[in-house]
């Protein structure tokens, strides 16, 4: 049965990306470098620069639709807004210096200070910049290739193996749960809030049971193909080309210029 895994649309972009043939270690390094640049520079200019650079790269070269990309960029919005609110507001017995706006609640002043507001904005942009840097990697590199990079980074084989299996099982469980949901809907299991909660709970219990039972069969199937605990998955080797390096170099130059206060 073919299903749309809308829960994890990032994953499906990775398989279709125009940058899929890029060397995966390089993409990870590039993304990590951009993350460090955004965090270490701590300047809105670098964050914004990264947001736009990664947008152009992922949309232009990777072929992700702009509308979808913007939607993905919206994922941290709630957090940015609430976190920003917490950082920007000050509660105080007296109005501190540099206050832009004040609200008096009984004996307490709720103030927005210039420092607080600027910190909130810097933080919000940093989050967007960092998310963009990670999107460049995750929207162009399928999980199998990311795990191959982790293996090369000497993460214990057992962890990699678990991650491989968990990744695969996630989609199996999504399929089962989608079918369960349809079946429950058909039997009016979601007719009101109370029933919905009950149905939701028991379908999850069912899902757990089913998955536990199947794990036995899945192990048999693994062993039937000679699996004996080693983590042997095919790893595609992708060439690092000068063209790919140019994109990285261009980013580094831009980040350096922005950091220099351009």
């Amino acid at each position: 049965m073919q299903r749309e895994h809308r829960h994890v649309s990032i994953d499906s972009y990775a398989y279709l990306s125009g940058m899929r043939d890029w060397n995966s270690s390089y993409k990870v390094l590039f993304s990590a470098a951009a993350l460090i640049a955004v965090l270490a520079a701590d300047r809105p200019a670098v964050s914004l620069g990264t947001v736009f650079y990664m947008l152009l790269l992922t949309v232009g070269k990777g072929g992700v639709r702009l509308r979808d990309y913007i939607r993905l960029l919206g994922i941290p919005a709630t957090f940015i807004l609430l976190g920003g609110l917490a950082v920007a507001l000050e509660f105080s017995g007296e109005v501190p210096g540099g206050t832009l706006a004040t609200l008096r609640l009984g004996g307490v002043f709720v103030c927005v200070t210039e420092r607080g507001l600027s910190l909130a904005v810097t933080l919000g942009l940093k989050a967007l910049g960092a998310v963009s840097a990670v999107f460049m990697m995750t929207l162009s590199t399928p999980m199998g290739e990311l795990l191959a990079v982790l293996r090369r980074l000497r993460i214990p084989a057992l962890m990699i193996e678990l991650m491989h299996l968990i990744y695969r099982y996630i989609f199996l469980l999504f399929d089962i749960s989608a079918r369960q949901r349809e079946a429950a809907y058909a039997r009016l299991g979601y007719r009101d809030f109370k029933t919905s909660l009950r149905t939701f709970g028991s379908t999850l219990a069912n899902l757990l049971l089913l998955s536990m039972k199947r794990s036995e069969l899945y192990y048999d199937a693994l062993e039937a193909r000679g699996y004996d605990g080693g983590c042997r998955f095919w790893e595609e080797r992708k060439r690092l080309t000068v063209g790919q390096l140019w994109y990285g170099a261009l980013y580094v130059t831009m980040a350096a210029l922005l950091m220099g206060g351009l």
Binding site: H7, V8, I10, L35, V38, L39, S47, G74, I75, A77, T78, L81, G83, L85, A86, V87, E90, F91, P96, E114, G116, L117, S118, L119, V121, L123, G124, A127, L128, A130, V131, V134, T138, M143, L146, L158, L162, M163, L165, I166, Y169, I170, L172, L173, Y190, F193, L197, T199, F200, G201, L204, A205, L207, L208, S211, M212, S215, E216, Y218, Y219
Partner: protein, 249 residues
């Protein structure tokens, strides 16, 4: 405040508001890029002893029986899936379970630390919830502190012979609340208040996230009870398989 700043603020606020309505409220994952580098590293280091303990316990489990690997992987996948399924809601808003309490009760806190960090990595990569730079902080709050307390509460309730369902509820509810408190402290440590220092800042973060997190904790508690009830109703032998047998007698 310069004009440039005003514009940036307005743009960012507009952007966030536009999406805020449509996006999902899940556990309090600290976003990518939200913590300064030294905090990212410090929280990561703090997680290490717990992760090593968890890793060793998992390895031991596998040495006893290799077949446990698919079982463990299924457990991990299950935690990921329940944390991304939409909980039924009255208002039509979109919220998700954390699975912290359920995981701790079913699989034990040491296995959950490892499964938890893997789930958090996948959430960061596949869903853009949380982040890779904030992985250490999120692992500490959601895969270590929360589950440990959940498990502790559960055991304590058992010792005090509290009603089973009450103890399951409390374990999940308190685990969730604790995760939310730890996250607030993590944010406050990085961004202390100008006037009142770290503690004032903790209050601020607790305050802004309370409207989403408090109802979520209650829901998490109720759902965990419903799931456990369903499991015990028709699956005692299967519960044995996942090491839950010490609890069900």
């Amino acid at each position: 405040m310069s004009k440039k700043h005003m514009k940036l603020t307005a743009a960012l606020a507009g952007f966030s508001l536009a999406f805020c309505v449509s996006t999902t409220v899940s556990a309090m994952h600290i976003m990518e890029g939200y913590l300064p580098p030294q905090y990212c590293i410090a929280w990561g280091v703090l997680c290490l002893p717990f992760l090593v303990t968890g890793f060793l316990s998992i390895r031991k489990k596998l040495e006893e029986n290799r077949r446990n690997i698919t079982l463990l992987a299924m457990a991990g996948a299950f935690i990921f899936v329940i944390s991304s399924l939409k909980i039924p809601s009255v208002t039509g808003s979109c919220s998700h379970m954390t699975g912290t309490g359920l995981g701790a009760i079913l699989f034990g806190p040491s296995a959950v630390s490892i499964l938890g960090i893997i789930v958090l990595i996948f959430q960061a990569i596949l869903l853009a919830h949380g982040g890779l730079t904030t992985l250490g902080a999120n692992t500490f709050s959601m895969a270590i502190a929360g589950p440990l307390l959940s498990y502790g509460v559960y055991r304590l309730c058992k010792k005090l012979s509290v009603n089973r369902w009450v103890s399951v509820f409390l374990a999940a509810f308190i685990g969730d609340l604790f995760t939310y408190c730890v996250t607030s402290v993590q944010l406050a440590l990085a961004y202390p208040s100008e006037a009142g220092g770290v503690w004032a800042s903790v209050g601020k973060f607790l305050g802004v996230f309370a409207p989403t997190q408090l109802p979520l904790a209650v829901l998490e508690g109720i759902l965990t009870v419903l799931i456990m009830m369903a499991l015990e109703a028709y699956a005692k032998p299967e519960l044995k398989m996942i090491g839950f047998h010490r609890e069900v007698k």
